[in-house]
Symmetry: C2
Subunit: 211 residues, 2 copies
């Protein structure tokens, strides 16, 4: 983490300098909020650093004090929403006592997930354009891995005799495809998106049901 100075957890390792005084911590939040607003409005392609600075009412230099480049802002936003989603997944899968309940929980989870994707313009935008740069792709990949592990652990809890490796790969793929399906569904007319999500759930559940 070369380049950072003070205490506090780094925001996923992307911050150039850790804000240690209150003033600067608020600044980082203002930057993120401004970026979020602009993305909601014009999309992340249309995100301009000068605009972010203007909306956050700080100078362009201050912006670069904390974020090494434009994609770092988007990355930070992406990691925050990923963390939220992960939390949902963790909670959603927690209670299941057997495989059938787990499958139901999974289906419910993706319905929620879909709703969130539909409702949150920033998530929609970042996910759609997620492949724009290597770093973003890596973040999404890592996210799929973590979510896959959560799913695999949940399955292992209700079906302990399962082959671990097959399960890990399958769970990873199911979550990754879930991402892809969400991306696809929100770019389609609502009715078609719904059908696609249903089809995905059918496929994923058929596979999960095997374990």
């Amino acid at each position: 983490m070369a380049g950072t100075t003070a205490g506090q957890a780094d925001e996923g390792g992307v911050l150039r300098r850790m804000p240690s005084q209150r003033r600067s911590r608020e600044r980082v939040e203002r930057i993120l909020q401004a970026a979020s607003d602009i993305i909601a409005d014009r999309g992340s392609d249309g995100l301009k650093m000068s605009e972010v600075a203007a909306l956050a009412e700080i100078s362009i230099g201050s912006l670069y004090q904390y974020f090494p480049d434009k994609s770092a802002i988007i990355r930070t936003l992406a990691e925050r929403t990923n963390a939220e989603c992960r939390h949902c997944i963790e909670e959603g899968l927690a209670g299941a006592a057997n495989l059938e309940e787990l499958c139901q929980a999974f289906a419910r989870l993706f319905d929620e997930y879909y709703e969130i994707f539909l409702a949150e313009p920033v998530i929609r935008d970042i996910r759609s354009g997620a492949q724009a740069d290597k770093a973003l792709r890596d973040i999404e990949l890592e996210d799929s891995r973590i979510n896959g592990r959560l799913l695999a652990d949940a399955v292992k809890r209700v079906s302990p005799e399962t082959d671990a490796e097959t399960l890990a790969t399958t769970a990873f793929l199911i979550m990754h495809m879930g991402e892809a399906t969400m991306r696809l569904a929100i770019s389609l007319p609502r009715a078609e998106g719904d059908q696609v999500v249903e089809a995905y759930k059918r496929m994923a559940l058929a596979e999960l049901g095997r374990f």
Copy 2:
């Protein structure tokens, strides 16, 4: 198709002006070849218009005579490779006499597909970064639709009594996920990529086997 002038099919509608003389037709090919070489070498993020012009040994102005912007070059390349892949799919699925044969053909197809993705740096790159701009995303989406239709038609041939709408959605999703899986697999270490492709085939075949 405003802005184009002469006969000849437009390259997917992206060309600003149709080259009608041989000289200019060759130029367009040289541009595409140069772009392809650069992408293979440095990736499409590192594609600079001035470099394309230099490598193609033409002026920057000539480049813009035919391609309205940078993404038009990438789009043209993407559409060409998509057309090739589509051809493979069409041929691969053609011979199957029953559902079982179709499933085998599908599995073979994706093995080939995977090989192509691994071997062709330009395809790898463009697919990985496919979500970078809206136009690219639309092209890939349309490609999934067409491929989905090819698959649906093949299934319908061997299982005519199938519900058409469910089949269409499922086939679309299977092909779209196939794309996503390929993108994922090539970004992973080889061994893990292989496992993911196998897992995908299992899931897709289970679903296809239903019809």
